[in-house]
Symmetry: C2
Subunit: 684 residues, 2 copies
């Protein structure tokens, strides 16, 4: 799989809540300031102490592209998944030097490949700011509530991180508004690829095997963090232990799960099942089809579209898995029961009141807004640049406290880095996605809808997409820089058709956002805090918050599972690759694997499964043993884990990881990198 | 829209049941031997007498391609929709003479275009054979029940129609097995196109406007039935009245609604919502995307793929509409309530027992079989030929009573006509659909599934599709004839890869069919009769059966509806076309329309809506006034009608028709056909 977060970002809005009932064994994506030591001790007979937790936290890395990772040497070496850096390889490739296809081993550190827009971050502190944030909007409601909350958060972030070049501050909403925590990060905004296997080695089995197990995937890569042109010093790295995992041993996964919705109310799940998932699956499937066919048209299209297709198919599998889960009464029944139980326990609790009714009303309001809100933003990288430039120009003219969250002082550096990254743009792909999204807007909003008319005017989706993509200069990073630096004057003076289009949509886009804030986000913020009260009151504080792409730790163990009466073993071995291979994509063995078949130890543990509770965003997370050493990199969940957004079932849900033993074999034999091997050994 | 049945055929399995409660005003697709005269009289103050019904039945035509129609002159002239004959125009077209694009007016009758595989049928008799069929399987169950029932039906059909050249006999299962009726038909197997407007005139607004209103569509065409090379004599034709419909006037729609599921139980609707619709929408959307992109690759692809894309988008809109309906508690609530009500009324009725439990168990069994059953049949016209040839060779070797329903003596003539029709085959399109369906089979069944291995072996979907399509000779009608006539010896001797592939899948395909018969179809046949008992016992016999692509009559009136507080007027006028046009497809005015704009009377009523209850298969149905004259041809439903498979809401559901006034204007002014005008006038 690819449990990279970026692609799943559309599902992140309004995720809130937390475990309705205390977590079952292994369930839980725990914060580092709320690790359930006693619970683990009682279940496993052992639990990490504070020093262990501190050490692990210091070595855990968040990649702003939507993944997790870990430092594994004193010289800034980072272990993550191949699929987390595939875009970087892709952006550095051309038809002549295709690093995605052929893999990449830096002969010298100077050859390491810079990843545009990528940033590595390590948590350096967690502070509770709940009282201050909640106090700022205590007597407000609707849009005013949202504004006041955002302003207070912006102020806290701005005060706490004065050096925005090397630190980042982020106030995180936990428990749906029950808690607000300030996370401070040491950040590294120059990240480069040191080593990557062939794409086919990482994606052996392709989409058909994605979210499945047994698996035979080398989904691992190494990055390196730089500062001032030099590798950074990272003495607090994790230890690399290239050994096979043992059946039943305790494992931790430490990373940044992107978003879960485990505490949604029945009405929120109903909206998901009835409205959002159906439109998402139908439209994404059509885009998948358009792209598959376009990639068959030429080798260039095949290469240039691959990264987008991979992301798309991964997301689609998630959406389809969620659809299946929410349409399975055996899955949803316990969730409904948990809500009924919490309501019963909260009956008569005046502090709690009836937040469910508040949520129901908010969801009803959102039903009316959802389609225009979804479709007012056309899909295209070039449009995203235009939209960001227009918004940034407008927002930067305001005081920090009045800006939208993505444009506050603390958020601007990353926004700028993303906007000004040197990323190739493929006009055919831009046109394809733009025409698709505009045609879907017309389909779902209707031909005679005012928003459809705003989006299309009298042009057809295809005609408009062609005109905007062929006419815009936004693929040129220098032009983007001019507009970024020139502010609103430069934007308004621009004759770029994509900029003008973003300006045309801007007022309605803002209006829809305000409507959503007022009738949906604001009531949810209030209700979220009440639901948190209800749960804390019913179950105490041994609860974990829904995922928020912030650092979490999950405990579990190496363990297979039973599938329709058959046990699925906990691991695969590298020799199995050659048995599964058919010679036909995506079951064709990567060329270097094939070449080295005689020298690869067939008994090396390749991929393995654990009971850890993870989700998209956890990709690249180190799998850590009780010694605190890295023994794998999580890269997928099994098919049952696709319902993990809503609930966790320890008998079936599994994390899928590539073993450090297999990565070491690849470093030594298949894609030789003796300097990296030495570096990893030195750091042990 | 296109309410042509063919595309919707996949939804026809196991549709059963009938109105849970007596039909509300306008609801109902009534059989001609069960017209609710008293009910209509009490609601409308008027109802047709038997002579009126007999006259109308005699002029009503079923087109085996999946549409409805009517005779409108004494010389075999047939009115139907343009979209019902688009495939025929397409099959007669080439890049040089594109009748689909440019329209077609036969200068002389000798120039009329033969439609391969098309057949026109008129009901000549309806006989109750319930006792005989039910008696044949009275003490049986499982697969034996299905076999006995099929054998008895085959015997009845065979005995009743000895002249299979001009007659057809069909035993129809009504009320889910509560009734069996023998329908006899006069059939005409040589059908030709006499007149068709430009495709854009019929499809103005394209998919975006499909299933919407207001509409501006000339979705009408004329066919002519031939026998022995001469137009047939049809003295019992309906009268053509080229006048505007009047707001509120009584209308009848007479045609062949394909399939409804209004009496499904809760468990059947749950299966539809939870399993079948999600997989159908996701996979069809992807195919749509692949095809849209492929059609952009060249003018040839654009032309050759159009008919398939139109059908696909139409079906998809239906599936998405059904998804929306079944995910709308406001829609499903009353259906659940009706079931609860019937259960309550049936409590303690020993004759009825608990058929709901039987259905629940059958649906549970079907859940386990559904995915392999769905995916064991790859999608490709060429594969369909191969499958039909293999099945026919096997089945024709058996006695009539032991054959599968599609291969009995009474069914073979149409099967042969379809198989040996001269229809162009486009290899790129065959490969596209075949590779798509095989890749979806792998996705939904899983890489390691035995059926996936049977379907693919070690080949990839793309590779297998290429090998089969490039290697087969089945596009050649003479080769198909050889195999059809050569029987099993010829099939087994063939080295055609598609034939060999169909043989490879045959045993498993039959096995799955038997499993579905035994654990699903058979229990439903038993339960269907019990549910019929329950309903007749609770509500008497003023009920209509679910649609079965047999002749029905619906009464209603010309009437707009209220949409979010605004009235949608009952009609559009031809001049509106030019106001709605943007110049960009699909809102570009058809060239002949544009050319004749000054001469077209802008006030002519173009399309109009009525409250008649119709569904896919009704396309082309005459809209008849109380005089029995034709005043329109139904071609669509509005967006609300998409839930019509499960239930009818008279406040919102509407039939969309093109007026005879508009067709007359087109015949006189836009696509002049003076001979047809004279013929229509002579027949009035």
């Amino acid at each position: 799989m690819r449990i990279r977060l970026a692609i799943l970002a559309s599902s992140s809005i309004a995720a809130f809540g937390f475990a309705a009932t205390p977590a079952a064994a292994e369930e839980g994506m725990w914060t580092f300031d709320g690790f359930p030591t006693e619970q683990m001790m009682s279940e496993y007979g052992w639990a990490p102490d504070q020093a262990w937790l501190d050490r692990v936290q210091a070595g855990a890395v968040r990649l702003t592209g939507g993944c997790s990772a870990s430092f594994v040497s004193p010289d800034g070496l980072i272990l993550t998944n191949h699929h987390c850096i595939a875009s970087c390889l892709f952006d550095n490739s051309s038809a002549e030097s295709d690093y995605l296809d052929h893999g990449f081993v830096a002969a010298r550190r100077e050859d390491e490949l810079r990843c545009p827009g990528q940033q590595a971050e390590v948590v350096t502190g967690i502070t509770d700011v709940t009282a201050r944030v909640q106090g700022a909007f205590a007597n407000l409601e609707g849009e005013a509530l949202v504004r006041a909350r955002n302003a207070e958060i912006a102020a806290i972030e701005s005060e706490s991180c004065t050096d925005t070049a090397t630190t980042r501050c982020q106030v995180v909403t936990l428990f749906g508004g029950g808690q607000y925590k300030l996370y401070t990060y040491r950040k590294y905004s120059d990240v480069r690829v040191a080593w990557a296997p062939e794409d086919r080695a990482a994606t052996f089995g392709g989409d058909p095997d994605n979210f499945n197990f047994p698996r035979y995937s080398m989904d691992a890569s190494f990055l390196r963090a730089y500062e001032n042109g030099q590798p950074v010093s990272t003495p607090n790295h994790l230890r690399w232990d290239p050994r096979a995992p043992q059946d039943g041993e305790i494992t931790f996964v430490v990373g940044n799960p992107g978003s879960t919705s485990r505490l949604w109310t029945e009405s929120q799940r109903a909206f998901e099942r009835e409205v959002r998932l159906p439109v998402t699956v139908a439209t994404t499937s059509e885009l998948r089809g358009r792209l598959i066919r376009a990639m068959e048209e030429s080798p260039e299209h095949a290469r240039e579209g691959l990264d987008t297709l991979n992301g798309l198919e991964n997301s689609l599998k998630v959406y389809i898995g969620r659809t299946t889960a929410l349409n399975d009464p055996g899955f949803t029944g316990p969730l409904a029961q948990a809500e009924a139980d919490l309501r019963a326990r909260s009956a008569g609790n005046a502090e709690v009141g009836d937040p469910w009714a508040t949520v129901d009303a908010a969801v009803d309001a959102y039903r009316d807004l959802y389609m225009p809100y979804r479709f007012i933003t056309p899909s295209s990288s070039l449009y995203s640049y235009a939209e960001a430039l227009v918004y940034a120009a407008q927002e930067r003219a305001k005081p920090n406290g009045e800006r939208l969250p993505g444009f506050t002082d603390s958020a601007l550096p990353l926004a700028e880095q993303r906007l000004l990254g040197e990323v190739p743009v493929y006009p055919w792909l831009e046109e394809l996605t733009l025409a698709w999204s505009l045609s879907k807007a017309r389909e779902y909003l209707g031909v005679d809808d005012a928003d459809t008319r705003l989006l299309l005017g009298r042009e057809s989706p295809e005609q408009l997409a062609e005109r905007l993509v062929s006419g815009t200069r936004l693929a040129d990073v220098e032009y983007r820089r001019q507009l970024w630096e020139g502010g609103m004057d430069a934007i308004e003076a621009s004759d770029d058709p994509m900029i003008q289009y973003a300006l045309r949509l801007n007022a309605r886009d803002r209006e829809l956002q305000q409507l959503v804030d007022a009738s949906y986000a604001a009531p949810l913020a209030t209700a979220g805090a009440k639901l948190a009260d209800a749960r804390f009151s019913a179950f105490g504080d041994s609860l974990y918050p829904d995922a928020t792409f912030t650092l979490r730790i999950s405990y579990g163990r190496v363990q297979g599972w039973e599938e329709r009466g058959n046990m699925v073993p906990y691991r695969t071995v590298m020799g199995g690759t050659f048995e599964r291979a058919t010679g036909n994509a995506p079951f064709d063995v990567a060329p270097a694997f094939a070449e080295m078949q005689d020298r690869i130890d067939p008994a090396v543990t390749y991929d393995f499964v654990t009971t850890n509770d993870i989700i998209g965003g956890n990709s690249g997370s180190p799998v850590i043993d009780r010694n605190g050493s890295v023994i794998g990199a999580a890269f997928d969940g099994n098919i049952h884990s696709l319902g993990g957004n809503y609930g966790y079932d320890g008998t079936l849900n599994r994390t899928v990881a590539v073993s450090t033993e297999a990565v070491q074999e690849a470093l030594e034999t298949i894609y030789p990198a003796p300097a990296l091997v030495a570096e990893l050994n030195a750091g042990r």
